[in-house]
Amino acid sequence: MSLPLIVFFACGVTAVLGAVLLIVAREPIHSALSLILVMVSLAVLYLLLGAEFIAAVQIIVYAGAIMVLFVFVIMLLNAGVEERTNLSKMAKYAGVPLGFFLLLEIAHWFWRSAVGARIANGSGTVNASAVSTRDLSMQLFQQYLFPFEATSILILIAILGAVVLAKRGE
C-alpha cells in the first residue's frame, strides 16, 4: 500500500461519499457543499495524476466560482428543504434501476476495456510525471486556438444572457 494508493482511495471514497451526500441531502446547500467536497477531492486526484494546472483550475473555477454562484443563488432564493413529491412513474420504475445498471455497466466496461487490459499486463500504470503548465498552454494556444476563441465568445454570450435575464427579472 503505497502513498499514492492511499491518497487515491482516501480521495475516491470522499468523492463517492460526497456524491451520495448530494443525493440524500435535503437541504440544497448541503448538496452544494457535498458537491464542493467531490470537486476538491477530484482536484487532489488530478494532482496525483500530475495535472497540477487542471487541479488548480478545478478548484479556482469550479469550487471557487461556479459553486459560489450556486451557494449564492441558494442563499438568495432562500431555498429551503425540498418537499418530497413522489417520483414520476417513469423515474421510479425505469430511471433508478437503469441508473444503477448504467453505473455498474460503465464500471465493468472500463474495467475490461483496452485500458484495463493494459493495466493487466503492467503497462499503463500512472508514472507521476507532472505535466508542465507551459506545454499545456502551448497546446491550448497553438493547436486549440480556435476552440479557445470560440469558448471565449461562448462566455461572452453567456454573460449577455445572464444580464438580460437579470434585467427582465426586475
Binding site: L33, E52, V68, M75, L76
Partner: protein, 396 residues
Amino acid sequence: MDFIAQHAVLVVSLVKIVILLLVVMTALAYLTWFERKVVAHIQSRWGPYYVGAHGLLQPLADGMKFLFKEDVTPPASDRLLYVLAPFLAFSLALTTLALIPFGPPTIQILGQPVFVIANSNIGLLFLFAITSIGVYGVALAGWSSNSKYPLLGGLRSSAQMVSYEVSLTLSVVGVLLLANSFSFNGIIESQSPNIGHWHVWKQIVGFLCYITAAIAETNRVPFDLPEAETELVAGFHTEYSSFKFAMFFMAEYANMITVSCLATILFFGGWLSPFPESWTWQLYLPGVGLLLIALYCAYDTIAHMRGIARIQLAVVALLALIAGASCLIPAVMPVIQGPFWFITKVGLFLFLYVWIRGTLPRFRYDQLMSFGWKLLLPVSLVNLLVTALLIVVVKR
C-alpha cells in the same frame, strides 16, 4: 527510523508546520494589538494601555476572554454548518501560509528547504485556489446562523469576493508574464538582484489593482461591507460568540498576512534585499534593528514605566537584546537575511492596511460592485494587455 529516512518530507514538514503555527498565532494576536495601537494614534488616542506595558498583554487578555465566554448556538441555526463555517474560514486562512517562502530555498535541512512548507512550482495558483475556497467560511456562516443580518452579510461577502477575485487574479497575471513562472521562488528570483528590478515598477498599475482587490478580498475597510457595523449589526458573524468569533477574527488577520506576503513576493522581491550584493554592511541590519528596539525599550523602561509595567518592558528589552545579539553571530547572519527583509516588507504592508482603515470611509454596496466591475476589472485587463504587448515587442 527508516520511515523518517524515507519520508523526510513528512517529518520536516510537520516540524515546520508546528513552528509556523506558533509564530503565526502569536503574530495574529499581536497584529490585533498593532492595529488597535496604530488606529488609536491615527485618531489621536492612546489605544490599549493598561494591560501590560503599552497594552502588550492585551491580546493575551482578549484570548482568555474569548475562551471563557459562553458559546451560544442559535436554536434555529443549521448546526453542522454553523460549527463548520469558522473552522473552514480559519483553517483555509492558515493553509495558505504553507505556500509562502519566507526565505531563500537554498537554506535546507535534510534536503528540505527551511523557510517554506509546501514548495510547489505552481504555488501561486494553489494560493488562489485556497483563497477562493475561503469564501465559503463567510457565506456559510451567514447562511447557517439563519437570521437576516448574517444572511445579508453572507450574500454580500460571497458576491463581493467572487467579483473581486477576478480582478485580483488578472492584476497578478502581468507579474507572471514578467517572471515567466508560477512558483514563488521563480517569481522572486526574477526580481533579483536589487530594488531596481522589483516588479512593482513595471507593474505599478497591476500593483494598485492588486492591493485594492486584496483589501476587498479580505473584507477590510473600506470594503468591509459583509460586517458593516452601521448597516448589519456585525455582518456574517453577528450570531457568533466566544471562540468561533475569535476564529473568524483570526482568519481575517491571517488573510491580511497572506495577502501582504503575496504582495511582497509578487511586487517587492519577497525575501530579496533591496540593496545589491556588494554592500556587505546590510548583513548587520537585522541585528542592529533589533538592538535599536532593545535600546528604545530600555530607555522607555527607565523613563516612563512604573510598577509592573517596568519589569515587563525590561523583559521585552532583554529579549530584543538577545535576539539582536544572536543575529550578529556570523553563522546566523546570512540565514536571517531573507526572513528579515520578508517580514519587514510584510510589516509595512500590514501597516498600510491599518493606515487605510484609519483613513478611508466605507463604500456603499452598489458603489462597491460598480467599482469592482466597471473600474477595477477593465483597468487590470488593459494592464494585462499592455504588458503582454510590450513583452512581445521587447522580445522581438
